[in-house]
């Protein structure tokens, strides 16, 4: 059997080979083909599955790294608000309101001499919604006297929407303000679809009609003028794929676009597109989405834009750089008009709308007027405070909303005052003496501890060195209130006599310290309150050395200075360096009757949906008794009345009753002023980054900027409530003994009850003498 088979097989094989080999080869091929086919199907299937999962995950998950949005304080409007019409305009400009003849829409305002009608936009605050409404505001001088709804009743209180002052951006520097489709005006979606993808609502992600139309246009033009990508493909390209132009990317684009269309509605795709698309560049910051583009180009919310503005934005999609309306206005206008023409041709707009729109200017705002980036020094403080509680990544990606206490009106006034004073000083002293003069400023609300404004340098928009926070400079006589406060906490009173004679101190290293008064004079015996008001150095050093350096350092700590301080005698004349914000914290405690308050720049942080994450409430702790602080407040008020800061009342209303202190460091390298009214505490520093001497003192420089700022503010008087253990006594300045009203030069001074002098001045004795009464009566008449 085996042989038989063996003989047969070789004979038949050749014939079978011819036929069967072919058959077998085909079969093999078929098998391979089938396998390949299945492999391709499986791989494609897996590929599709992968793509599908990828598309869905990314589309449904967190789509964009959203920068944190930082807001200024919302303006609270109420009858009695100390605010002029001009100040309201500063706020409304910051909000991008249009000033019109007749208010008809949100984001508009009209003005008469004493009245403003505004149509607020409304805002969803974490603690409630303020709705958009038309309001009539009546002013009298620098006060808002009445608010009422348009054709309605008076209102007690309204909050305007807060100004967006900045963002904290992710690494890719993409910035966007998300909008929902229903926020987008029809004019925008119509224009976008008309110019970019007119079959958007018909195709399945790719459009053969679109491709052939584009090819035809390109052939006719003889060059590439139109692409055939649908909005869906563009979204895929920007959202999922890298920007490299490769075949693989092009091949992926089509199935991905179709898959996206399979899963999501046209409206969902369009909404994502509106937020994804790249529309401009500001330095490193990339402007994405129509929501932000509306703010970036027009400083208005997208809902308020007119047809011609929407057409421009839609036109920009093709090439934000090429059609940049700021750099190439002609090109941009041509592009905008083309969009309008297409809309007109498609019957989306009327002849009249078309003619009106093409006749309108582009209406782009100057970049400088955008308030994002206008407050780098303040944002710097906000970021530093935020970083204590939040990770950088969360700040730049989670879309947090940060509500701060920045007051743009205060900031505007402070900037104007500081910059103009620096310019005046340069003109006055000549560029050689004050070359590179710099300055910084901190303004707070002395009652609440909220930081209202910060200036980090004379170039207020510069993002670099923030002098208000980081320039630690010797504070000079600004330190003195701590010394006098310590003294009155001990056995001293305001009437105590201090020795202002020359003083020498031999240091441990054998060197001698010889402090001097500013006028190089000795003033003999001086009353304690006079020594501070006139900022005498000799009496202050003697006083400080007698009460000891450590108690003074303890007082500084209780005033809110947290940096370590060395107990060197030079501390007494302010060799200690502090930054302006530290000085603000210190004087804040003095302004608030001994209650130390952490300076706050942030009120509240919410997530992107408005859910509160953290709040920074009003906090305080009393670290110095109100009574001794009352004594200090008196002396600081005297400084402004008759001391080193007496130039104040050449400019301010005396009833404002401000308190403050000048400061000049060694060799006049730093010029300081710290002072407060009832509603504003402002610290000003002037100096040079190279630390060279200045040709002016604290009162010749920083005080001028302080006065310039304060005289433009609506100030409330500083009211020092009198604690119950304080009594006022008439004191004779020469003897420091008890006097009375009828004596010449007698001054009423506050004392902790029972600590004042008890002996009578000679004048009182004379007045009690019946022989001198007639003469005294005459003297009193002519006082």
């Amino acid at each position: 059997m085996a042989t038989k088979k063996a003989t047969k097989l070789p004979q038949r094989r050749p014939r079978r080979t011819n036929k069967n080999v072919k058959f077998g080869f085909k079969k093999k091929l078929a098998r391979i083909a089938i396998k390949l086919f299945f492999a391709v199907v499986v791989i494609s299937g897996l590929g599709f599955l992968y793509l599908d999962t990828h598309i869905r995950n990314q589309f449904e998950g967190k789509r964009w790294a959203l920068p944190a949005k930082v807001y200024a304080r919302p303006l609270e409007l109420y009858a009695g608000l100390p605010m002029s019409l001009a100040e309201l305009k500063i706020e409304l400009r910051g909000l991008g309101y249009q000033f019109v003849k007749k208010v008809t829409h949100p984001g508009q305002a009209e003005f008469s001499e004493t009245r403003a009608i505004i149509y607020s936009r409304g805002f969803q605050f974490p603690d409630g919604i303020e709705r958009a409404q038309q309001l009539i505001l009546e002013f009298s001088g620098s006060q808002l006297t009445r608010i009422q709804r348009y054709q309605g009743d008076p209102i007690a209180l309204v909050r305007l929407e807060p100004i967006l002052i900045g963002g904290i951006y992710p690494l890719n520097n993409e910035d966007r303000d998300l909008i929902q489709l229903h926020d987008a005006p029809h004019g925008l979606t119509d224009a976008l679809i008309a110019i970019e993808d007119r079959d958007f609502y018909q195709h399945v992600g790719i459009s053969l009609k679109g491709i052939s139309r584009a090819m035809w246009v390109n052939i006719k033009a003889g060059r590439f003028v139109q692409g055939g990508s649908t909005l869906t493909q563009q979204l895929i390209k920007n959202f999922y794929l890298t920007s490299e132009r490769s075949l693989a990317r092009k091949l992926l684009e089509v199935p991905m676009a179709m898959l996206l269309e399979l899963h999501y509605s046209k409206d969902e795709i369009l909404e994502a597109y509106l937020n994804e698309v790249y529309l401009g560049q500001e330095g490193a910051r990339a402007i994405h989405g129509f929501g932000l583009a509306a703010q970036y180009y027009f400083a208005q919310p997208i809902q308020e834009l007119k047809l011609h503005q929407l057409a421009l934005l839609a036109g920009l999609v093709k090439g934000p750089s090429y059609y940049d309306p700021r750099r190439h206005p002609q090109r941009a206008k041509k592009r905008r008009d083309l969009v309008l023409k297409v809309l007109h041709n498609q019957g989306k707009i009327t002849d009249k709308q078309y003619q009106q729109s093409i006749a309108t200017h582009l209406g782009i705002i100057k970049q400088a007027s955008l308030l994002k980036g206008a407050y780098p020094a303040y944002l710097d403080l906000v970021k530093r405070q935020l970083r204590q509680s939040y990770r950088d990544q969360d700040l730049s990606t989670e879309g947090l909303r940060i509500f701060t206490s920045l007051n743009p009106i205060v900031q505007h006034k402070a900037e104007t005052a500081l910059v103009s004073t620096i310019n005046k000083l340069e003109n006055w002293y000549g560029n050689n003496k004050v070359k590179g003069l710099q300055g910084s400023m901190v303004v707070t609300n002395p009652q609440t501890g909220e930081v209202m404004a910060i200036i980090g340098g004379r170039n207020t928009r510069y993002q670099g060195f923030n002098r208000a926070l980081d320039a630690v400079r010797p504070v000079g006589s600004l330190i003195k209130p701590a010394i006098y406060l310590t003294a009155v906490e001990q056995d001293y009173t305001l009437a105590s006599k201090l020795d202002d004679s020359p003083y020498n101190l031999t240091m441990q290293d054998g060197k001698t310290w010889n402090p001097e008064n500013f006028d190089h004079q000795s003033h003999g015996d001086v009353a304690l309150h006079t020594a501070l008001a006139h900022s005498y150095n000799l009496s202050t050093v003697r006083l400080g050395m007698s009460i000891g350096l450590n108690p003074i350092i303890n007082t500084l700590e209780r005033l809110g200075v947290s940096r370590p301080i060395d107990p060197y005698p030079s501390l007494l004349l302010g060799a200690q360096g502090l930054s302006p914000i530290e000085v603000a914290a210190m004087y804040q405690t003095m302004a608030s009757n001994g209650f130390q308050m952490p300076l706050r720049s942030i009120r509240l942080v919410t997530d992107s949906a408005g859910q509160e994450l953290s709040r920074y409430p009003f906090q305080l702790k009393q670290t110095i008794s109100s009574s001794v602080l009352h004594l200090l407040q008196y002396m600081l008020q005297e400084t402004a009345r008759s001391g080193t800061a007496r130039s104040i009342y050449q400019h301010l209303d005396p009833t404002i009753n401000v308190a403050g202190k000048t400061g000049t460091s060694d060799d006049q390298r730093d010029s300081w002023f710290a002072g407060f009214s009832g509603n504003r505490l402002a610290i000003v520093w002037l100096g040079r980054d190279d630390n060279k001497p200045l040709p002016f003192t604290g009162s010749g420089g920083a005080l001028k900027a302080w006065i310039s700022y304060m005289s433009n503010e609506t100030l409330e008087p500083f009211i020092a409530p009198m604690p119950e253990d304080i009594e006022y006594l008439w004191i004779a300045p020469k003897s420091g003994l008890v006097s009375n009203q009828t004596c010449q030069d007698a001054q009423q001074l506050p004392f902790i009850t029972g600590t004042g002098p008890t002996s009578m001045d000679d004048c009182v004795k004379k007045n009690n003498d019946p022989d001198s009464n007639s003469a005294n009566w005459l003297h009193h008449l002519f006082r």
Partner: protein, 168 residues
């Protein structure tokens, strides 16, 4: 319609402590020689004299309608148990009228509700620093401090505060 993305962020409110942790000074009422009612009228007239530098004692401000509205909201929120909203309303009121003692009274009471007794007492003391010379108000604030101290378990402190309240 796909809503705009909501970022999943944990609530960090409890971790946020913007206040330095050092203990505040607990202020006791100034010991007076006698428990007689101080002669405020006399003091007021003293400081209203023509002395140029003397600070005023206090200004009795009329309440602003906006502040009244906010105080009413705060009270309503307090009664509803929504103490954080009450705190927000009162801080708005404080920014408008930082010299209004009612704001501090209500705010101190809200912090008492939040069981933040140290801060509650400090806010009440701030109120006291404003109402100097107004006996009824002083008595009211010291009674509030007595309540706060009682809640905090400081019975002897509460008694001292209650005694002080009786002096007015």
């Amino acid at each position: 319609m796909q809503p705009v993305h909501q970022a999943p962020i944990e609530d960090r409110a409890a971790q946020t402590d913007p206040v330095k942790s050092s203990e505040p000074l607990l202020v006791e009422p100034t010991p007076k020689g006698s428990a007689t009612k101080p002669d405020y009228d006399n003091k007021e007239s003293q400081s209203k004299s023509t002395v140029p530098v003397s600070p005023s004692t206090f200004s009795a401000t009329t309440q602003n309608a906006a502040v009244i509205a906010l105080l009413e909201s705060a009270q309503h929120q307090f009664q509803q148990g929504d103490l954080h909203s009450s705190q927000s309303s009162l801080q708005r009121a404080q920014r408008i009228a930082p010299q209004d003692p009612e704001v501090y009274y209500a705010l101190a009471n809200t912090h008492r509700g939040l069981q933040d007794y140290v801060l509650a007492e400090q806010v009440a003391l701030k109120g006291i620093s404003i109402v100097q010379g107004q006996s009824e108000q002083l008595s009211r604030f010291w009674n509030l401090i007595a309540d706060i101290r009682t809640n905090a378990g400081n019975i002897s402190g509460a008694k001292k505060a209650r005694d002080t309240a009786k002096r007015y």
